[in-house]
């Protein structure tokens, strides 16, 4: 049974690559076809249109808009932003750093470039604002539509901060045009995305979904244990290099590039329902998700394992 898995071309979907490479899907009778996208947003759209069976990407405003209309169901987790893992970062321009922009607390009054309104970066910044008690209105948001645009802007000094994935930000740092200000995971922990299917798939192909999740969780467990220590911090263990090689091959980057950008994965792909509700509340408050719906409805409890609430 062929299953098309849509992912954005990045390290965050590592469990998928591992499960494919290790044959876990094949063992469940699934022929996995990974389809790469340049961004997360079109994956959600492609799942709705039926081109993709399962999506594994970050949340976006568009995702919630489609899920809110009942078109998408969350069945598992995606990466989380957690301390120690350098997925998304705050990169500060040389000029702004020299002028005293040293920590996330200093952000008010500065300009911040990121991809789009309602993106993971936008939400992360809002979490930081909650955490440090500053007003988002005091931040000049510069949505530049793509990560390279944002990286360009900070490299050229036309914005003070760019929030981009480490893969886009670190090359700028290496060229000496920017500095790392902070990592999102260190500042604000949150669930970055989800594994999701269309409502129709959830209702008509339950058996496939269950088998898919079994294989997928095996991959997640293997990946988690290989790159994460018992303290849930990154570790360099005996299997780490193998994982890096699998990811590098999948996304066409060098091992070195991948090793700086390893993402955290929950070993059981558990869904942090409370965090998702918080996200939806924020999107709604911003007017980015409209319409009346029950957020719980977008999570299909038949297939997912909830994240233990503290």
């Amino acid at each position: 049974e062929t299953v098309k898995i849509g992912v954005a071309k990045s390290t965050t979907a590592a469990p998928v690559y591992v499960a494919v490479a290790k044959g876990f899907f094949a063992a469940e009778g699934i022929d996995p076809q990974v389809v790469f996208f340049e961004a997360a947003q079109p994956v959600a759209v492609a799942v709705v249109s039926g081109d993709i069976d399962v999506g594994v990407t970050g949340f976006t405003g568009g995702f919630y808009a489609l899920a809110g209309q009942g078109a998408l169901k969350i069945i598992g987790a995606h990466s989380r932003e957690v301390p120690g893992f350098h997925g998304l970062g705050y990169f500060v321009s040389e000029k702004a750093a020299a002028a005293g922009l040293k920590t996330v607390k200093d952000i008010p009054g500065h300009s911040v470039a990121f991809t789009t309104v309602g993106s993971a970066f936008h939400y992360s910044l809002a979490l930081a604002a909650e955490k440090y008690g500053f007003d988002m209105q005091t931040v000049h948001l510069e949505p530049l539509q793509s990560n390279p645009n944002a990286a360009s802007a900070v490299a050229g000094g036309s914005v003070d901060i760019a929030m981009v994935p480490s893969t886009s930000g670190l090359p700028v740092v290496q060229r000496g045009q920017a500095k790392v200000l902070a990592w999102v995971g260190d500042e604000t922990t949150w669930q970055l995305g989800a594994t999701f299917i269309s409502a129709k798939t959830a209702d008509t192909r339950g058996d496939m979904v269950k088998r898919f999740m079994n294989a997928y969780r095996k991959g997640a467990r293997l990946y988690h244990d290989a790159v994460t220590g018992p303290d849930e911090l990154p570790k360099n263990g005996p299997q780490t290099a193998e994982m890096i090689a699998i990811i590098a091959k999948a996304i066409g980057q060098t091992d070195a590039e991948v090793s700086t950008a390893l993402a955290y994965a929950d070993p059981d792909e558990r869904v942090d329902v409370k965090d998702i509700l918080h996200q939806i509340a924020w999107y709604r408050a911003q007017g980015m998700v409209k319409g009346e719906f029950n957020p719980e409805d977008m999570i299909d409890k038949r297939y997912m394992i909830p994240y233990p609430q503290k």
């Binding site: 995702f63 808009a65 209309q69």
Partner: protein, 270 residues
Amino acid sequence: MTEITAGGASVRREVAFRGGGFIAMPKPAYSWIAFAGIIALWQLAISAGWIDPVFLPSPASIVEALWQLTVSGDLWKHLSISLARIGSGWLIGSGLGLIVGVSMGLTSAGRAIGMPLVSAIYPVPKIALLPLLILWLGIGETPKVVTIASGVFFPTVIATLAGVDSVPRNLIAMAQSFNLPTRSIVWKVLLPSALPGILAGFRISVSTALLLVVAAEMIGAQYGIGAFLLTAGNLMQSDDLMAGVVILSILGLGFGAGLTALERVLLRWR
């Protein structure tokens, strides 16, 4: 007619009409009916559930989105900002395009140098160069205006050049035969004569400017029709998305009508 060609007794036959057709008369009623019909069908298809509104928002919800946009005052904010960008980009692009186009039309060297450059740079897609553009010009108004201006520049150059080329040689010979100075020939003969071509070019460049406002507002814009469209796309708010598209369409039609009026005034002599 065939009866006659067939010969026979001497008969009187009326000549049958065989002309007409092949000319389109304006039928504005048809246009309105067609528009109304399409919108009604579209609304029906969604109301009746033939089309899932996730895939295509209904006309009613697009109108609703437009209405929201208007009463919230956002429409004006987006529109005024975008119009300022389109206006300044278009003015700069057309101004430079006119100057370059006329210079290329007037001198052999100008044309020999300019033409291949224009042909080579014209087909370069602007969106692909956005990262470089940000590096060069930052993310303020400059790169936005430059994006629009560069899109406007090339069609203007080409239209102006074609306009200058189509100036009847005999008018220039006439001016020379009265010893008009070169400057006068350019201003009094060449430019007015090239004007219809230049105005035709404006039709293209205005559409281009509208198309590029989306690309331009990819560069760090919070407000503007393009930014609004992009955000709506990012958030999959397809009613807002279509509302933005409708606004762009109306702008396009409005600019087109404006140009038609301008032509009617400036080209009364045709």
